[in-house]
Symmetry: none
Subunit: 460 residues, 2 copies
C-alpha cells in the first residue's frame, strides 16, 4: 500500500489547487435546458477536455445535436487490469428563482453552512464537484506513477434535460465506450460520516401536456360558465392521478413493481432514519403518498408521480378575468422494478385523453423515459468498493436505493451491457436543483481520496 499512501498524500497536497480548478468550472453557467447558455456548455466541455489532456489523457470534445460530450482515455501502468468508464455531467439546472440565492450562483466560494465548510454554487454538488473528485484522484495517480486501471472518462452536457443526444452517441461509439465496469458519481452519502453505494435507481417518465380549449383567450364574463376552461381540465387530470390512499390510478401502473427482498428490507429498517426528521428538515410533518409505506421505502423503492410544473392564464400581479385558451403541466413518474416506461407514458396519455371533452385538444411532449436499475448484491466490484470506502471513512457503507434516476446507468446496462458502480459524496442537504446549492468541502476532499482507494481496489 505504499503506492496508495503516496497517492493519498498527493491528493492532500493538491487540495488548494484542486479547489481552484473546481471553482473555474463552477464559474461557467452551463445550464443545458436554456439555449441561451449553449456557449457556456461548450466552454465547460472544453475546460474539462483541456484538464484531462493536461493529465495525460487522450481527450476530445465531441459534437452532438445538443451539448457536446467530452471523452478521454488513459492506460494503466500495468496490463491486464480492469478497464473502467467513469461518467459525470458538466451541465447544471437553471437557477430560478434567482432572488432566493444569497450570492451569485456562478460565483463559487467556500463558506460555513450550518457550521460546516461548504462550496456554494450552482452545480457544486450536482455534478461538477462530484465529477472533479474523480479527476483529482486520477491526477494524483498520474503525478505519482500512473493509473491502476485503464480509465475512460465520459462527461455529458445534457443530463439535466434527459440526455437527448446520449443514446445516439453511445450507439455510434460503442467500441470506444465499452469497459468492464462503469463508475458513476451522481449519488450521495448516507450522512456526513457514512459513505454509501447506490445499488438501486428509480426510473423516470417525463411527460408534458398542453391542453387547448377555445381557439383564443376569452373574457370570463362573456364566456365563463359556458366555455370550457382548460385549467379546470388540467386540474381534474392531476387530481385524478392519485386516489385517497395516495396510490397512483393509471391503469397498469403497478405492473412490474416488486416488494423488497427480506434482507434489504431489514437493513433499511435498521438504518437510523427518522421520517419526522426527514420531512421536518423541509418544514413538513405529514407524509404524503402511499399511506402504508415508510418514507425510505417511498423514496427508494416505490413508484411515484409528481407534477413538476403547471401554468395557464394570467399569472401577473392583480387580476385579469381571462378564460385562457391553453393550460399546461409537466408530469413525471418515478419507476421501480420492471415497470415499463413506454407503457406508462402510453397509459398516461390515454388517461389524459379520456378526461377531455371532444372539442378540446391535447399536445403531448415527451421529455424522455428510462427504466429502474439495480446492481446485484453479489457483485465482486461492489464488495471491493465497499471495503475501499470503509478504509477511507472507517464506517460500513450503506447499500442504498435512490429516489432519483440516472438515465446513463440504464443506457450502460442496455446498450453497453455494463453494470455500474454508483458512488458519490453529495449530502441530502446539498440543495441540488434549488437556490444556494452547496457541496461540503469534506465531500470534495475525502471524495477524491475515496475514488483513489476504489480505483486501487478494483485493480488488485
Amino acid at each position: 500500500m505504499a503506492a496508495m499512501d503516496a497517492v493519498l498524500a498527493k491528493i492532500d497536497e493538491n487540495r488548494d489547487a484542486a479547489l481552484g480548478r473546481l471553482f473555474e468550472l463552477l464559474r461557467i453557467p452551463s445550464i443545458s435546458t436554456d439555449p441561451a447558455y449553449a456557449d457556456a456548455c461548450e466552454s465547460a466541455a472544453r475546460f474539462l477536455a483541456d484538464e484531462l489532456s493536461g493529465l495525460g489523457f487522450k481527450s476530445s470534445v465531441r459534437a452532438t445535436k445538443g451539448r457536446p460530450m467530452v471523452l478521454a482515455h488513459a492506460k494503466a501502468t500495468r496490463r491486464d487490469v480492469p478497464h473502467v468508464l467513469f461518467y459525470g455531467h458538466y451541465d447544471v439546472q437553471p437557477v430560478d428563482p434567482r432572488s432566493l440565492w444569497n450570492t451569485d450562483p456562478f460565483a463559487p466560494h467556500v463558506t460555513e453552512v450550518d457550521g460546516v465548510k461548504a462550496i456554494v454554487a450552482r452545480g457544486a454538488s450536482d455534478d461538477k464537484g462530484q465529477l472533479m473528485t474523480f479527476v483529482e484522484a486520477c491526477r494524483a495517480f498520474m503525478e505519482t506513477g500512473g493509473l491502476p486501471c485503464d480509465v475512460s472518462i465520459l462527461f455529458e452536457g445534457e443530463e439535466e434535460t434527459g440526455s437527448p443526444s446520449l443514446p445516439a452517441f453511445l450507439a455510434e461509439n460503442k467500441a470506444e465506450l465499452k469497459a468492464d465496469l462503469a463508475l458513476v458519481c451522481d449519488t450521495g452519502m448516507w450522512d456526513r460520516e457514512t459513505p454509501s453505494i447506490t445499488t438501486m435507481l428509480r426510473g423516470l417518465v417525463l411527460e408534458e401536456i398542453v391542453v387547448t380549449a377555445a381557439n383564443r383567450d376569452l373574457h370570463s364574463g362573456m364566456y365563463g360558465g359556458a366555455a370550457t376552461n382548460p385549467i379546470h381540465l388540467v386540474a381534474r387530470i392531476i387530481a385524478d392521478l392519485h386516489d385517497a390512499e395516495g396510490r397512483i390510478t393509471l391503469p397498469g401502473f403497478y405492473d412490474g413493481v416488486e416488494e423488497l427482498p427480506r434482507d434489504v428490507a431489514d437493513q433499511w429498517k435498521a438504518l437510523p432514519f427518522d421520517d419526522s426528521d426527514f420531512l421536518g428538515q423541509v418544514g413538513l410533518s405529514v407524509p404524503a403518498g402511499e399511506q402504508d409505506r415508510s418514507v425510505l421505502e417511498k423514496i427508494w423503492a416505490r413508484p411515484t408521480c409528481d407534477v413538476n410544473g403547471i401554468w395557464g392564464g394570467y399569472t401577473g400581479s392583480g387580476s385579469k378575468t381571462v378564460l385562457p385558451s391553453k393550460a399546461s403541466a409537466k408530469v413525471s413518474f418515478r419507476l421501480v422494478g420492471k415497470q415499463n416506461p413506454a407503457k406508462i407514458a402510453e397509459a398516461f396519455r390515454g388517461f389524459v385523453r379520456e378526461r377531455l371533452p371532444s372539442d378540446c385538444q391535447v399536445e403531448f411532449i415527451s421529455h424522455g423515459g428510462s427504466p429502474a436499475l439495480a446492481l446485484p448484491f453479489s457483485s465482486e466490484a461492489l464488495n471491493r468498493a465497499k471495503r475501499a470506502l470503509q478504509a477511507e471513512w472507517d464506517k460500513e457503507p450503506v447499500m442504498a436505493g435512490s429516489g432519483g434516476s440516472i438515465p446513463i446507468v440504464g443506457s450502460f446496462k442496455q446498450d453497453l451491457k455494463m453494470d455500474t458502480l454508483m458512488i458519490g459524496f453529495a449530502l441530502d442537504d446539498d440543495r441540488i436543483h434549488s437556490p444556494n446549492e452547496k457541496y461540503d468541502l469534506a465531500s470534495f476532499q475525502k471524495g477524491a481520496r475515496s475514488w483513489a482507494r476504489v480505483l486501487n481496489a478494483l485493480a488488485l
Copy 2:
C-alpha cells in the same frame, strides 16, 4: 308628441354636424393608461365641457389625482320632473398593435365595414360614439325648447384603467351627483336591428391563493412520494370546486340565486341565439358548466367559477424534476341575484383550508368583490324606456343580462343609492379594445334618437 317629433327632426337635421363633432372628439388620443397622453385626456375633457357649456349646461372640468372628470348640469323647462345622471367615459384603450390598424386610429372616417356604414377610430364605440348619442339628444332638446328632465352628466377619463379616482370623487361630490336614476351607455344592442336594455350585471369575487408545502423547492427524486406537492393540492381544490354536473360545490354558494321570472325566461328562450354558433366562434362545441342550463342563461343569469390563472414549479422549456414549495391560482366567481361577495370569499377560503394537510399553509389575496346588480323588472323607468326604444326601433327591446361587470353601476347603487338604466348601441362586432374599432353610423344616429325618446318617456 308634436314636441318629440320636432326633437327627432332636429336630430336628423343635425346629423352631419353631429358627426363632425364626434370626429373632433375622436381625433384626440385620450389614452388614459399611458402618461404620455395625459394632455390629450385634458383636451378631451375640455372639449366635452365646452360642448356642454355651449348647449347651456353649467359645466366644469374637475381635477383628480389622475385624469379629470367633466361634470355638467342643466334644468328641465318644467319643474317636478325626474333628475337623471348620465355617465360615460372619454378615455380610450391603447391602440397597439398599431400595425393591425388599416388606418390611423385617431383619423376617424366613415367607411363600409361588412357592407354597413361605420365610423372607424379608437373610441368610436367605446365610449366616445356612445356618449355623444346622449349629448346630441340633449342638443336637440335644447334647440327645440329645452330638456324634459333635469340632466346631470358625468364623463370620466379613467374607465379603461379601473377608475382609480372615481370612488373618492363620488364620495366628495355625493350631493351634486345624486339623482333619481343613472343612465349608462356602455352596453350594446342584441343585434343590428334589436335594441337592448341591460337589466342584470353579474357580480364578481376575485381571490388568489398561494399554497406552500415544503419550505423550499425539492428534488422530486429525493422527496417525491413522501413530501406534499402543492401543485397537487391546488389541482385537487380546483377539481373539487365543480361537481360532475357542472355545479359549484362551495357550501352555501347558491344562497341568494333566484330563478328567472317566467316572462324573462320565455323571452330568452325565444331569442335567436344559437349555442353552437356562440361556442363555434371560439372553436368549441361542447357546452361547459351547469348541464341543465342554456348558454345564454349561464352567461347572463347563473353564477360561475373560473380559474383565471395557475402557476407553480418549473414552467420553462424542457423538464425539471422539481417538487415545488409553492403553487398559486387566481380564482374568480361571477355572482347573480343576492349572492353575498363577502360570504362567498369566506366560503372559498374555508373550502381551501379544509383541503390542506396540517403542515401546509395558504395565503389568500383578495382582488376585490362586488355584488350582482339588477334593475327590478317591475321598475317604471325600465318599462318607459322599453316603450321608447320600441318606438324608435320598431322591435321589442331585449331585457338582457350581462356576464361582465360595470363597476360604476355598483358605485351608483352602493354610494348614491341610485338604480341605473343601461342602454347602449354598440354591437358585438365593434372590435372594442382591438384594432379597427368601429361604431355603426346607424348606432350613432338612431342612438341619439333613442335617447331623446327615453328622456322624454322618463319625464311623462
